[in-house]
Symmetry: C2
DNA sequence: CGTGTACTTGAGTGGGCTCAAGCAGGGTGG
DNA sequence: CCACCCTGCTTGAGCCCACTCAAGTACACG
């Protein structure tokens, strides 16, 4: 088998002093003096696309901050199917649950090349114990994740809503900024999010492309993407009507 | 005029001194002196079954602690279908997200008679600001909710898993303690959780009852319930027979 | 005893699944 | 440069689970 997805390298220690995210990041409330005094061995890791950051079966040993790229959190059900539970991007905290539990809830995999700061668990616990303001920030992050999860649940995976509508909603969520660009995941990933077979995803995407609502656009700054007709997508995403509207093209 | 689902009454001010939950509750880290000094107007509310605690469209104004009963958090999709997102029970905190956002994420409805302590938002904010230990506890609660949501997502709503298996999993989650009793929700609620039509739920439940895996048991201490053959249910819940042939086994 | 709500049951349909084969593109090595 | 694979995507055929619509039954409650 090919290189077992364990492809990551260590850029050495993170330089918190020059980190452009320090003011917006989790650690915003930690002073530089504290950081220095702490002498924390924070590693700066680079994971390439599809690399596994940690596995569900591993014992929790660290918390990660995303500095660049996109991460997916997945679970495998008894029959081995992958299910994507959430995305994490710049400024998000990965594996926060391991502060309270030894067991990891998910497997984390890089969707694009990703840069992470790794903070060993013991240090992280001491960190938050000594910096109350950090706790509130983490609580906010956690609530944010919870809101995402609820959205995901109620909008994306309801089988009561036709797959095409859900796909449109997902594409809207994958929009890059305010542009007409949308992240182009793999067919399998789309399926793992929506809980539908990859073949169905392929058919639906092609249907959208036939209607010129979606067009393949080359590789952008962050991976492959689509160019989309946002108004049209929005229209489809709101289609809650149960009346059949099979646009048969003769 | 009929009281439109707004059926709740106020038992007056909560008496935190005699509250049996004080040591395990959110406020465990708040001293009695603080509580007294704070002079917080914490109302003690009783909601009857099916009463709406707050609505998604309401502006967030308070946080609630569940002292007794079970609450469901629901969302309505564009076509008006109800979707149950999570349950909350004794010791859980309701509407915590409104600490950070004015908008409510869900509508909260009592599934059984429920007793809640209502803490006005402004007071709650001050509360957590003054009690750092409380923040950590809330963070833990939040992470717990997140774990529940992830479980829900990956085990209960995957349309890739047959409805019968998902129903069995749900029934196992509704188990009362370590007994052979299981909470008996309404057919519609089962459907709103699993994302399937109520007719299908009815058929599946009857199928289980024909196989004597499930039996209607009268009203228990907390509402209607079933008596279930737990080993048999467990067996069904692990049924991965729909696994795909081409799927590479991890 | 009627009326409403919750649940049951049947018939027919269709969306999305499975299985299977074909295609397209990007490496890699000769 | 082509031949080869390998992986990801496409496309078709047939099937089945769960849906919809619709009518019937059980039970609670005034």
């Amino acid at each position: 088998m090919t290189t077992l997805n364990r492809t990551h390298k260590c850029n050495g220690r993170s330089n918190c002093f020059t980190c452009s995210l320090r003011s917006t990041m989790v650690c915003a409330d930690v002073s530089l003096e504290d950081l220095l005094a702490f002498h924390t061995p924070i590693d700066d890791l680079v994971f390439e696309k599809d690399a596994i950051i940690y596995n569900m079966t591993d014992r929790a040993s660290a918390v990660y901050c995303v500095r660049h790229g996109v991460i997916k959190l997945v679970r495998y059900d008894v029959s081995g199917n992958q299910r994507i539970v959430r995305f994490l991007k710049k400024n998000d905290v990965v594996a926060l649950e391991s502060v309270f539990s030894e067991e990891q809830q998910h497997t984390a995999i890089a969707l694009t090349e990703a840069h992470l700061c790794r903070i060993p668990m013991a240090h992280f616990r001491q960190f938050i114990a000594e910096h109350p303001a950090l706790q509130l920030r983490l609580l906010e992050k956690s609530q944010e994740a919870l809101r995402d999860a609820d959205n995901w649940l109620s909008e994306l995976v309801s089988n009561t809503v036709p797959a095409k509508v859900r796909l449109a909603r997902l594409l809207l969520q994958l929009r890059i900024g305010e542009s007409d660009r949308v992240h182009r995941l793999s067919i399998a990933d789309f399926g793992a999010i929506l809980g539908i077979a990859p073949e169905t995803v392929s058919r639906l995407l092609n249907e959208l492309m036939d209607g010129e609502i979606l067009m393949k656009a080359g590789r952008g700054p962050n991976g492959r993407n689509y160019r989309a007709d946002m108004p049209a997508l929005t229209l489809i995403s709101q289609d809650g009507c149960r009346a059949r509207q099979t646009r048969k093209t003769y």
